[in-house]
Amino acid sequence: MSIMKEAPLPVGRKIRDGMIKSTSTKIGDWIIAIICFILMLICIIPMIYVLANSLSSPEALVYNRVFLWPEGWNIDAYKTVLTGEKYLWSLGWTAILTVICTLLSITLTICASYPLIYTNLKGGKAISLFMIFTMYFSAGTIPGYLVLKGLNMLDTPYALILPNCISVFNVIIMRSFFFGVPDSLREAAEIDGAGPIRVLLKVYLPLSLPVIATLSLFYAVGRWNGFSDAQLYLSDKGKQYYPIQKLLYDLIQNSTNTSENLSAGDYNENGVSQTVQMATVMFATVPILLVYPWLQRYFVAGVTIGAVKG
């Protein structure tokens, strides 16, 4: 053990980590650092803009005075969102929907990927082909729409839950991860008399918590940010099932349409001022922005496996 611990790092690594460096590379390092800082600013400024706008007074926004620092500090917009039944319901409903979808999706993904690691499973190859084929060829928007229509799922929550509940991409990621678990563990459990299900629950799932967390995040983000299915499958009849993104889109469409027609002073005509829009944007982004940094180190495995084996 001690030998392994004391094994030296590869020399090239040292060089790249900056232990042996000439002056010119040091300057280069600073230039790169500055470029990265600018890139970071580009990524983050829009969010600051939104935050500043949501904290400003509506009047300041009408004359477009707010850029990165709020003017006329107040949190009325947040109060409006938190007391407005429409927003609160939509946020809560989207949260519930996200939880349901994520649980369902991750369960089904595990169900779909686990049997495929048994290389001697009859029909396993055919089943994976059956799944992967759908990645490259799809029937298109209209057939999918017509099927949902025929199943009477339009304007129901099912239209948001079922049609996209398994992503083949994620099944492939999960399967690759399961493949990475040493076979000897499985064999040992099988010798002890465990059936496939028990092996899954006691050996595979505990070992693959990171990838489960990552895929759950992917599914949750997909659902939370999902807009096209609401736009396609929910009409006015399914209005109570609008997720937050669809609500936000309608809000902005309405207000831009009115503001194009009306003069700037009538900002409140539609009952929704720009600050409220911005506060809604904050509510729609913050949950995800709070979660993803914690799972960041697991992304790599997930994304790489999916892209390379896809």
């Binding site: 590379t25 650092a33 169900c111 001697n120 390379v308």
Partner: protein, 539 residues
């Protein structure tokens, strides 16, 4: 037999008043009556001797035969609009058959307990039992079809399919038994798996294609024959297990796959049957398989699409936007990954990565909301800072540029992940060797890093080429302004406005089919090409 008959007659006579009491809407009394009969039957069953068993059997048959009166009430309770079950006799027949079957099952169980199940007699009993159950299920199937025709299709279709599935299970068991001369119930799990696997999609899809169950029956039979042939070979090829051991060991895995397969069948493969709508007359009331061909030998919609200026625009836009995405959007993450790779401060690097991933987690609705404000024509902050009045999102070419720019802004950071992962796989000794040879930063990037990530770049290039005619929905839709729509919309929006908003289903299905087929062709072609040039493809 005379004794049995007279006994049952006597019981029948005795119970007549009670039975009538039920008809006078006294359900508790009737249930009590049935319970008493059950108790008597059980008591007789426990007595020693052959006569006792026969007698008990008679009691049970009678008992369940009486219970038939419950059936219409149960049906009405579940489905109030069901047609009046005129044929109480049928219900009685089914009950008698089922009861006799259950009796035989009990008898079989007893035989097994005393170790005589494997004899010819045991097998005869079993066969008879299957026949009884099968006939009962068949009768139910036929009758329920009539009774339930007034009920909502979902309910009675479900019931009917359940009965069909039962029949399927029984048939499979029976076949497995005769084929292997084995005890049928050993194959029950297998039979259940197969039937569920097979019927679940069929049941769900029946409202759309009423013929599906009819279509399914011959296939079920074919499947059973396959099963029989399978069960005959002693060892499953490639596994080293006997058929029985294999099923015992792995049937749970097949059960796990049932729901995912049902998902893919219903939401991915079943829509493909609607592709035929592209060649048929425009009618969505029935399944397109039953429709007649459209004009011009079915090609009418394709001809119409290509003679449609708006579609040709959409096609050109899609190709243009995707090409721009490929040419400009593809190298960006590579450059950024190289930049991050050269970044010397580990903590700062991690922070940068976190921040660069942020836009990926914003939805297009939000990005467009922010963009529409920041890039507004007159009073937007970008224009103000630049001191210009560029119509970023309200004229064609600036709009296209913004479309590309925002796409890069959203996904560039995220796409570096994959390149960064590939970069860690490069052998550090190569850098060392390059250093010794006097290579500077640029030379190292050009001669070591880029060749190291070439396979990854090729894979992503193939995948992007495969999407050359594909189009997202969220991105153009949220960024779209009404006045630009006809000029810059890609195919996805054309399909949305014509198919879903405009109800031209055949036309837009044809367009979608064209899109999918071109995508597959491009994917296959680019993969073949890359293999020809000695690179690793994606399959």
């Amino acid at each position: 037999m005379v004794i049995v008959r007279s006994l049952s007659n006597a019981v029948s006579l005795l119970s007549a008043p009670l039975s009538n009491a039920w008809q006078a809407a006294e359900p508790y009394l009737f249930v009590a009556y049935l319970a008493t009969l059950l108790a008597i039957g059980l008591w007789v069953w426990r007595q020693e001797g052959r006569g006792a068993r026969v007698l008990a059997a008679a009691v049970f048959v009678f008992l369940l035969g009486e219970a038939y009166r419950l059936i219409p009430h149960i049906i009405w309770a579940i489905a109030p609009r069901a047609q009046q079950p005129d044929a109480l006799g049928t219900a009685r027949l089914v009950c008698y058959l089922t009861t006799a079957g259950f009796f035989l099952l009990l008898e079989l169980y007893r035989q097994q307990r005393v170790g005589r199940a494997e004899t010819a007699k045991g097998r005869r009993i079993e066969n008879l039992m299957f026949v009884l159950f099968g006939v009962a299920a068949a009768v139910c199937f036929v009758r329920f079809n009539e009774w339930m025709s007034g009920e909502s299709p979902w309910f009675w279709l479900l019931l009917r399919n359940f009965l069909l599935a039962t029949m399927g299970v029984l048939t499979i068991c029976l076949w497995a038994k005769t084929a292997k001369n084995d005890r049928a119930f050993r194959h029950l799990p297998l039979a259940l798996c197969l039937v569920i696997l097979f019927y679940l999609p069929a049941v769900c899809l029946e409202p759309l294609v009423p013929e599906i169950t009819v279509l399914m029956i011959p296939r079920t039979m074919a499947m059973i024959w396959v099963m029989v042939i399978l069960s005959r070979s002693a060892v499953i090829r490639g596994t080293g297990y006997s058929f029985r051991t294999y099923i015992k060991r792995y049937w749970t895995l097949y059960m796990l796959l049932v729901l995912p397969i049902a998902f893919f069948a219903i939401f991915r493969y079943f829509p493909m049957s609607y592709i035929s709508l592209a060649f048929k007359v425009d009618n969505t009331l029935v399944h397109p398989w039953t429709l007649e061909l459209a004009d011009n030998g079915g090609m009418q919609w394709f001809l119409q699409a290509f003679s449609n200026q708006s579609f040709r625009n959409a096609l050109a836009n899609t190709i243009l936007l995707n090409l721009l995405d490929l040419v400009i959007g593809m190298p960006m993450p590579i450059i950024m990954a190289l930049l991050l790779n050269e970044l010397a401060f580990p903590r700062y690097k991690r922070l940068t990565q976190t921040v660069l991933y942020l836009p990926h987690f914003l939805s297009w609705v939000i990005i467009s909301t922010i963009a529409l404000q920041l890039f507004a024509d007159n009073n937007g902050w970008i224009n103000r800072l630049l001191g210009t009045t560029i119509p970023f999102l309200s004229q064609e070419n600036p709009w296209r540029a913004m479309y590309i720019f925002l796409g890069i802004w959203k996904e560039c950071g995220w796409n570096t992940i994959i390149y960064l992962a590939a970069l860690t796989g490069i052998n550090a000794e190569l850098y060392e060797a390059a250093e010794v040879d006097g290579a500077g930063r640029w030379k190292k990037i050009w001669h070591v890093t880029l060749p190291g990530i070439r396979p990854t770049i090729i894979v992503l290039l193939i995948m992007n080429l495969g999407r050359i005619l594909g189009s997202e929905f969220d991105r153009p839709f949220t960024l779209m302004r009404d006045m630009l729509q006809s000029k810059v919309q890609p195919i996805s929006l054309f399909v949305y406005y014509n198919g879903i908003k405009g109800d031209q289903h055949s036309l837009s299905t044809a367009v979608g089919l064209f899109q999918s087929v071109v995508c597959v062709i491009f994917l296959v072609a680019s993969n073949t090409l890359s293999k020809k040039f000695g690179e690793r493809g994606i399959w």
